[in-house]
């Protein structure tokens, strides 16, 4: 979606303000919101692309004024409610008012480190061949899906060069809507700054994105 998360190339947000000696968390509740989000991944049964969509799928006015963990927490609430695991009246009461729904698994303290160490690899087996090779010129397609996509607006319609064939990876555009992993070939595609930002742009800048095959179309070689 062309939502508030798609920030690349926007103006007006002001300078970057690094905080000296920044703590990992800025408040007690941030720690809990972070840990709850990680811990609920297992019983909640959602995937990372669904979490991302839940975070970005809100009004820009709201997204741009919320802090980072406020956005995480709002997405967690939305996903819990969507799946009927928790209801508004329960959050208001601060107590469970209904028996739990059966869930596949709960994260036990003993499993935490194992689960973190394993992570969630997104590479999948395939016997297909990638359509593009390093050095190929490609154009990022003009697409504007209202659902989750990882092709930023600022590269759409622009010409780039395939830098690297990364592998065969879960396709977020499908995975986010619950349409399955639908894995696709994934590439690193590099664009010159001038191609993206116009002839006034800095000639020494290049920008690389990771792009799945359905985002790309072949372009004529130079």
């Amino acid at each position: 979606m062309n939502g508030p998360q798609d920030l690349g190339g926007m103006d007006g947000f002001g300078p970057v303000m690094p905080e000296p000696d920044e703590p990992v968390f800025h408040a007690q509740w941030e720690k809990r919101a972070f840990a709850l989000t990680l811990a609920m991944g297992m019983p909640g049964g959602w995937n990372i692309d669904q979490s991302r969509f839940a975070r970005e799928n809100r009004s820009p006015a709201e997204y741009w004024t919320m802090s980072y963990y406020q956005i995480w927490f709002a997405a967690l609430e939305a996903m819990l409610k969507e799946r009927g695991l928790v209801a508004d009246d329960e959050i208001a009461a601060g107590h469970a008012l209904r028996p739990p729904k059966p869930v596949s698994r709960v994260l036990s303290p003993a499993d935490v480190l194992k689960v973190l160490h394993r992570g969630g690899p997104t590479e999948r087996e395939t016997n297909t061949k990638p359509l593009f090779q390093p050095g190929d010129r490609v154009r990022a397609k003009i697409i504007n899906p209202p659902t989750h996509t990882r092709l930023p607006r600022y590269v759409r319609g622009h010409l780039g060069v395939v830098d690297r064939v990364i592998g065969f990876h879960v396709f977020p555009d499908s995975n986010a809507t619950g349409a399955g992993e639908n894995p696709q070939w994934l590439y690193t595609v590099t664009f010159s700054g001038r191609e993206l930002w116009g002839s006034e742009g800095d000639a020494t800048t290049q920008v690389s994105v990771d792009a799945w095959e359905p985002y790309l179309e072949p372009a004529a070689p130079l």
């Binding site: 998360q5 798609d6 920030l7 690349g8 190339g9 926007m10 947000f13 970057v16 303000m17 690094p18 905080e19 990992v24 968390f25 408040a27 509740w29 919101a33 840990a35 990680l38 811990a39 019983p43 909640g44 991302r52 980072y68 927490f73 609430e77 819990l80 695991l85 928790v86 329960e90 959050i91 601060g94 107590h95 469970a96 739990p100 709960v106 994260l107 036990s108 303290p109 480190l113 973190l116 160490h117 394993r118 992570g119 997104t122 990882r150 930023p152 600022y154 990364i166 990876h169 977020p172 994934l186 993206l196 742009g201 800095d202 020494t204 800048t205 290049q206 920008v207 690389s208 990771d210």
Partner: protein, 207 residues
């Protein structure tokens, strides 16, 4: 610009969120979906154990051990796992080599992707709208916000983390560190130098 800006989101909002987070945690615990001890362990892990010191060890090793360096740039995920770092938000890591001609910089314009196993959780600025909006369009100006000025002919390559690939910048080894131990070298490697918004400390900065 903001002296008249009255539309602020004051601290009452924070305490509201705080109460709401606590309420949700209670409900989820009562329903048996989460174990509070697991939450404590998750927090402790990312607050105390996993952080940029991990990445600094990787970089320092690559500075002293050419074989390791070659493995790191060929396939970073197993090379980093040799030092015991792996897992969540680092399932597929790519190491980016800074050279006198090329400076790499990492951003996630769409959310906040960041190589957790080597750098820990990202700082607020990395996740902020100013960084996410400007890093791809005007990286030199962003570098200036960090006090970094590169030669005008250095190529800057920005990596927008749009997939599950995570990027680790390997900065150039500072001059004047010949013969230093890996451990001592690691003390020069800052978090920002591994994101590309900073450079390593100079030997003068550490005694």
């Amino acid at each position: 610009m903001t002296e008249l800006h009255e539309h602020h989101h004051d601290h009452s909002e924070l305490s509201e969120t705080q109460l709401r987070v606590r309420a949700l945690e209670t409900v989820l615990t009562e329903k048996g979906y989460v174990d509070p001890a697991a939450l404590d362990l998750l927090i402790e892990t990312y607050e105390k154990k996993v952080g940029p010191r991990n990445g600094a060890r990787v970089v320092a090793r690559s500075w002293v051990d050419p074989d390791y360096r070659a493995r790191l740039f060929k396939d970073a995920t197993p090379a980093i796992a040799e030092l015991g770092y792996a897992g969540r938000q680092g399932e597929h890591i790519v190491a980016l080599e800074n050279t006198p001609k090329l400076h790499n910089m990492v951003v996630c314009t769409l959310c906040s992707c960041y190589p957790w196993p080597v750098l820990g959780l990202p700082p607020v600025w990395y996740k902020s709208a100013p960084y996410r909006s400007r890093a791809v369009a005007d990286p030199r100006a962003v570098l200036k916000d960090f006090g970094v000025t590169l030669p005008p002919d250095t190529q800057i390559r920005v990596w927008d983390s749009t997939s599950e690939i995570r990027y680790l910048v390997v900065p150039m080894r500072p001059a004047g560190t010949e013969g230093w131990s890996e451990e001592r070298l690691a003390s020069l490697v800052t978090r920002d130098s591994m994101i590309g918004t900073g450079l390593p400390k100079s030997p003068r900065d550490v005694k």
